[in-house]
């Protein structure tokens, strides 16, 4: 019994001592802080690089700047606890006025709820939320998704333009249970029927399961030659998981087939690994990166068969939301100003065409004022931009719903 008391007393004393001294804030010049939470480099590099770009622009809060950057765990599907407490720990800083989570992995909504209970003054932005739209709309001040509805049509349209006759959609149960991804699959299926293409759904292992990334990539490597043989070389491939992208591209270069764009498109997505590119010299400059990737794709005989977005989606969302939050906090604009949001994104993507619109709930037809869907023109290597953002999309695609 004595021991318990001793230990407890020691623990309490320690906590109190450090509670007192840990708040010895140094001379901090920034008027406010912005918290940015992204995946790690090994999980989603682009998102993290966007946070680093923000740090480069506005400084790290530890050294008098604005940005506090944290990462959620690699195996976020196992460790929701950690994700929540990482996000929540940001709210401990009284100067922190905005939190950006990109990608908003499961647990973000709960963390936002808790932040809101404690600190209603903090702006909460979610990039590419994994949780269902109504859940995240309820708690976030602004959510950004890549336009899973329009792209359900435009990716198929682009595949047809590039010359594909069939479309293979590679995914697995966890992803198909996300409303955004599941819905897009249904739209793609419909678009294929309408445009006279064959739609095929293939299952590959989930990289977050215990086969790990290695097992998942191995599966794609092994299966691709067989799939291409089965469905023909005039087939476009699409996968919903980032980890699948690299082996997919590698095999497409070797065996033929088309690739319109990745789930979260970026010139950095899959290509550098599949092509063995060194981009050190081009770091940070997406126009140069795109050029180098293009040269290499064309050299490998992939002209006209491979596409991407000219700028990284993940990078832009992190950086763009950060910029938007800064503008709001600095009083340059206010929450809900769409023009300023677009402008914040454009800051990181000079010369690119974006299309954006509010999320529309297929069930109720309501528009969400705080949930934007964005997408960009597809850039086909060795060929140039496809005007995907200029396509007129049949309204019926917006009415496809997952619940019937």
């Amino acid at each position: 019994m004595k021991r318990i008391l001793k230990l407890a007393a020691l623990l309490a004393a320690v906590l109190l001592v450090f509670a007192a001294c840990s708040k010895g804030a140094d001379a901090d010049s920034a008027p406010f802080h912005i918290g940015v939470v992204t995946g790690s480099v090994s999980q989603s590099e682009d998102d993290l690089r966007g946070a680093e770009e923000l740090i480069k622009l506005y400084g790290d809060s530890k050294t008098g700047g604005m940005i506090t950057h944290l990462t959620y765990p690699d195996n976020f599907m196992d460790q929701m606890d950690t994700t929540i407490s990482q996000i929540l720990s940001l709210a401990d800083d009284a100067k922190l006025k905005a939190i950006i989570v990109n990608q908003a992995v499961p647990g973000t909504a709960e963390a936002f709820k808790r932040v809101r209970e404690k600190r209603p003054d903090i702006l909460l932005f979610a990039g590419e939320p994994h949780e269902d739209p109504p859940v995240i709309q309820e708690v976030a001040d602004m959510a950004i998704n890549s336009d899973f509805i329009s792209r359900g049509y435009t990716i198929i349209w682009a595949a047809k333009q590039m010359g594909a006759k069939a479309f293979v959609h590679i995914s697995f149960p966890r992803h198909m249970s996300y409303e955004t991804l599941g819905l897009r699959r249904l739209i793609m299926e419909q678009a294929c029927t309408d445009l006279g293409m064959q739609f095929i759904f293939e299952t590959a292992p989930d990289p977050t399961s215990e086969v790990g990334v290695a097992g998942a990539q191995q599966y794609i490597l092994e299966k691709m030659p067989q799939w291409i043989e089965k469905y023909g070389e005039e087939t476009a491939f699409f996968c919903t998981n980032d980890a699948h992208t690299e082996p997919l591209l590698k095999q497409l270069f070797a065996y033929g087939g088309y690739f319109v764009e990745a789930d979260l498109p970026s010139p950095l997505m899959g290509y550098p690994g599949a092509l063995g590119l060194d981009l050190t010299a081009e770091a940070g400059d997406f126009q140069k990166i795109l050029k180098k990737v293009e040269e290499s794709v064309v050299a490998k005989g992939g002209a006209g068969r491979f596409g991407t977005w000219a700028y990284s989606y993940g990078f832009t969302v992190t950086a763009g939301l950060g910029e938007y939050a800064r503008r709001i906090l600095a009083g340059e604009t206010q929450l809900g100003d769409k023009a300023s949001l677009n402008d914040s994104f454009a800051k990181f993507t000079p010369g690119a065409k974006w299309a954006s619109g509010p999320y529309v709930n297929a069930l109720t037809g309501q528009q969400a004022s705080n949930h934007m869907l964005v997408f960009m023109d597809t850039y086909v290597f060795g060929q140039g931009y496809l005007p995907t953002t200029a396509q007129a999309i049949d309204p019926k695609y917006y009415e496809i719903s997952v619940n019937n």
Binding site: R3, A19, A51, T71, D78, M80, T82, P173, E210, V402
Partner: protein, 370 residues
């Protein structure tokens, strides 16, 4: 002096992690009130699960990593409650009512398996957890929605087959924590949750004194002698696991109602892993555990979890290193606690053997062969 030495030797694991925590706190830059309010929250959330480990340790079966099975049962209960739109405290009660029979069955099963794997209970239990993952996925993805109808779109997968991967537990969120929430300064204390934990403590204290509790401790000491003394060893061991599994089931429900969100197919994996780390850090060994160990362990482990990612980040100037750092510490806690304990045991055994040999030699020398 000697007292201090033996105190250190007895609590080496706890002291090591106390030191790490003390070092990590200033580096993390977190405020005391944040750490304390987070600790209260996490204590309410996860200590019940840790209690589930006490009985099997008492019965000499080591850390019951198979408690994951109980957590799974709890999750099935919650799926049921959410699917039928039963809200709040009533929803949790219903989930518990559904979970308990399931966890009794699963506990009986894992007890049987562990009885056949004597001497390797821990690793078997660990693998049993993974095995259950497969069965559970089969249940959630194929049986549910086919044999057992799913009523709510919120629970059903988009393509209509099985239970979703992430389940929002909004309807039962805080169903226990928020019945009575006491505000003390900046902290809010979930009174009912703490009351439930207190009742569980009393139960364990009472249980140790019952015939069954005594039997378990006897088995934990020495199975052979217990058997000779007429204790049904196998049955008692199974009962220890069954109770542990049921407690894990309730513990998981408490844990998830606090978290408000559930990864249908992975949340249960975390249960055994956090709980094992906590009880070991609290000074329990694989053969001895008490309520005290649970309390100290939960506080220390969570203080570590709260501070290490940020401390790692501050030390290495990289958010990612901070994250890996805390993962490393998470696994390292269990590894080093087990190692230190096994090492202590071995030293004790060596000492005993040396003592035995010496006394034997002394006897031989004194008595001679005569």
């Amino acid at each position: 002096m000697r007292n201090v030495k033996s105190f250190v030797a007895d609590n080496i694991v706890t002291l090591i992690f106390l030191t790490i925590t003390i070092i990590a706190i200033p580096f993390s830059g977190l405020s005391g009130s944040y750490i304390i309010s987070n600790l209260i929250d996490r204590f309410a959330r996860s200590s019940f699960l840790v209690f589930a480990l006490i009985l099997p340790i008492m019965a000499g079966m080591g850390i019951n990593f198979a408690m994951v099975l109980g957590a799974t049962a709890g999750q099935i209960g919650l799926i049921f409650a959410v699917d039928h739109n039963i809200m709040g405290t009533e929803g949790l009660i219903l989930a518990t009512l559904v979970g308990i029979p399931l966890s009794v069955g699963l506990g009986w099963f894992s007890g049987q398996v562990l009885n056949r794997a004597r001497g390797r209970e821990m690793v078997t239990g660990f693998i049993l957890g993974y095995f259950m993952d497969g069965i559970y996925q089969f249940f959630g993805l194929y049986i549910m929605g086919w044999l057992i109808p799913i009523r709510t779109a919120q629970v059903m997968q988009i393509d209509g087959g099985g239970v979703r991967n992430t389940l929002a537990l909004e309807s039962v969120r805080g169903g226990l924590d928020k019945i009575v929430s006491l505000k003390v300064g900046p902290f809010s204390i979930p009174v009912v949750t703490f009351a439930v934990i207190a009742v569980l403590c009393l139960f364990i204290i009472w249980f140790r004194r019952t015939k069954l509790g005594q039997d378990m401790r006897a088995i934990g000491q020495e199975q052979g002698i217990s058997h000779a003394a007429g204790i049904n060893v196998d049955r008692t061991r199974i009962l220890a696991i069954v109770i542990s599994t049921v407690l894990a089931c309730i513990g998981q429900i408490i844990y998830l109602q606090n978290l408000g969100n559930m990864f249908t197919y992975t949340s249960q994996r975390q249960a055994g892993y956090y709980a094992a780390a906590a009880i070991l850090v609290g000074g329990a060994t694989v053969s001895k555990a008490s309520i005290k160990n649970v309390f100290i362990g939960v506080f220390l482990v969570h203080a570590l979890y709260i501070t290490t990612p940020l401390a790692g980040k501050a030390l290495f100037k990289s958010a990612m290193v901070g994250q890996y750092m805390s993962d490393f510490i998470n696994y390292g806690i269990i590894a080093s606690a087990l190692v230190l304990h096994a090492w202590k045991n071995k030293r004790a055994a060596d000492l005993a053997r040396a003592g035995l040999r010496m006394s034997a030699e002394a006897q031989a020398a004194a008595g001679g062969v005569a």
